[in-house]
Symmetry: C2
Subunit: 391 residues, 2 copies
């Protein structure tokens, strides 16, 4: 049964057949010329997705590993760090910095809202002596389906010397992100999101300015050490055995992303979001995120208490083979999260919206059957060409 | 061309078709019931390979990540550590401990030799106040093809309270290892070796005694934290997104290993070793390891300077599509290393030995053609049944 599941999580995501086939290729020597070529090709390809000409390393790890790499390489014990959090992943980033000895000042915004750019600017303006060494911020907060306007926040705070460190694990390629143009110092991402490949790789991009900070930083590190990483990359190697199969998948993913074009990919994710939101609204359900900060990767929806978010998920799973995410921590059993990230087909999303309607009805929610689906159809209809060429 | 390579490295190793197919399965929710079942099944399966009933966690990382996990969880800054090294990976383990603040006392043995158990015992006996908190030791030293007699060393040093921490990345299932019976505290291994799956997973097994030490240890950690790992494992989850495809591969690998049986797997590796060694000796080449400490995972062979180890490897690669490893550091261009680890067919090894002969001849080495191959044939012949049933 699992093979036929509708997997609509904010990662892991469905894997295209092309990528599955690519990953099945025989392994090669990771200290040989074929791997060198592969490594340089995917490094270049991922840098294009980041829109950066600076530094990029790929780690065998989950996205959390990438966040740890960002901390241990660019933050020293005792450094003051401003950690902006709008949910569970913002909290996680702050926790990692604390675990590695940073003096963390948390700046929390309510779950479901984006960070207030002006408030961040005000706080950094107060820090006249540049005591704050780094700002940690989440691009797309997966726990709530809200994104922070990184570009504006960075612009507003550009005159503060702190490194600007972004968790873009679930946003890269699903939301616009221009690392160099936006002057971001460190940007973390991962493979199991818009890159359409299985979990197991994280990406750490960092500016030349961040590299200078790294060279004077004093945190403990071996596995994540970017000095080692860059030294080996120069030889076309990694300083540990790389997950070669996932690299094959990544090469294929980068090819697919280049064929489609980054702008189109970002646009496609925006369309997923708009379709899902309009449909869910028509069902009379309340959305967590406001329109202007709604994630293009995942849509969070409040479920009436009388139904129960987790019971609804369970029903969809058991009877219609649909996997969507639940809420985390304070949002547990309060919301459902519909992932629309990576390799998603519009008609799959439409089917899931139809199933959601049916599930709600079965559980006693009052709803005019089809009202949400119709909205989704209307949304898709306007994207279709006006007429078919007659033969 | 790469698809047809003879990949005879001490990892990564060839991947069986069954495992490749298993890894191609669609992804699932890593917080759902199917993954829980998968995680518990592979955890149990890997514990059986370790022959332990204690604790085991699986990380998305290379083997080096597993070594880092062993250090940050069980060694505190300032702890005195005795790091026994017989090669590059012993050195690496010591370096990681140093990077994380341990006071490391190195005990080096010459490359190509096993550690002297008696010398280790003597050093620990001197440490009457139990200042040494941990012993780091490599089971199979991949850089030289020599293994340490972990069982005897552990027996001899059993009355010292230090944690006994073993790097078994390239040895587990290729050499006998009985974690509980031998009283080992921490044992690290990885996926791309005798487990026959691609790189990307490391295994950290630890005793209940080690867990107690962990609870009072003060090193910085987040990603590798076994407290978090165990907490999530209880729920059937991991505290980061797991590399699901590799878990599918691991399940299939564990199935295959159970079908074959651990003892047979270890015996098979011993036979690879004995066949390769007898063949190479017959070619008149000198082996690095003595018979009694020769690795069952990789055989290191001196190559006459007039030929050049790296040139020989290059020749085998270019003209016969064979990938074997070279020497590391001081052994670079001095030795070749023939991997026979994991999913290796005897006849592939025989073919590579034939190619080695041909390569040597082409490069001016004096050799009676076939002399090494014949030895390998003789070795294999005695393993074959005596007569075929006639129909």
């Amino acid at each position: 049964m699992t093979g036929d599941q509708y997997l609509l999580l904010p990662g892991p995501t469905p894997i295209p057949e092309r990528i599955i086939r690519a990953m099945g290729k025989s392994l090669i020597n990771h200290r040989g010329p074929e791997f060198r070529e592969l490594l340089l090709e995917v490094t270049e390809g991922v840098k294009q997705v980041y829109q950066t000409n600076q530094n990029l390393l790929i780690y065998p790890s989950s996205g959390s590993g990438g966040l740890e790499a960002a901390v241990v390489n660019f933050i020293s014990p005792g450094d003051k760090v401003l950690a902006i959090s709008i949910g569970a992943f913002g909290d996680r980033f702050a926790t990692i910095a604390e675990k590695f000895g940073a003096r963390v000042e948390k700046m929390n915004f309510p779950w479901g809202q984006a960070a207030d750019a002006q408030a961040i600017k005000t706080r950094l303006d107060e820090d006249k002596n540049g005591e704050i060494k780094a700002v940690l911020i989440t691009h797309n907060e997966t726990s709530t389906g809200v994104f922070n306007d990184i570009k504006s926040i960075r612009e507003l705070t550009a005159n503060h010397p702190a490194l600007f460190i972004v968790d873009a694990v679930s946003s890269l390629a699903a939301l616009e992100l221009k690392m160099d143009e936006w002057n971001l110092d460190v940007v973390v991402s991962g493979s199991q999101k818009a890159f359409m490949i299985p979990p197991g790789l994280s990406f750490l991009a960092f500016s030349d300015r961040a590299l200078t900070v790294h060279q004077h930083s004093t945190n403990c590190r071996f596995y994540w050490d970017v000095t080692q990483g860059l030294k080996y990359l120069e030889k076309g190697q990694t300083h540990f055995t790389p997950p070669i199969s996932l690299y094959y998948g990544l090469r294929e993913a980068v090819n697919m992303m280049q064929e489609e074009g980054l702008e189109k990919i970002v646009l496609r994710h925006r369309q997923y979001r708009d379709m899902v939101r309009s449909s869910v609204k028509a069902m009379g359900l309340k959305l967590v995120a406001a329109d202007e900060s709604a994630s293009t990767a995942v849509t969070s929806v409040y479920v009436p208490e009388s139904i129960g978010a987790n019971q609804l998920r369970q029903y969809l799973y058991e009877h219609m083979n649909i996997i969507i995410a639940g809420g985390q921590q304070q949002m547990d059993d309060v919301i459902i999260r519909i992932g629309h990230l990576g390799y998603v087909r519009n008609l799959d999303l439409l089917a899931v919206l139809a199933a959601l309607e049916m599930g709600l009805l079965k559980m006693g929610y009052e709803l005019e059957m089809g009202v949400g689906v119709k909205k989704a159809q209307e949304y898709l209809l306007q994207k279709l060409p006006d007429n078919l060429e007659r033969r």
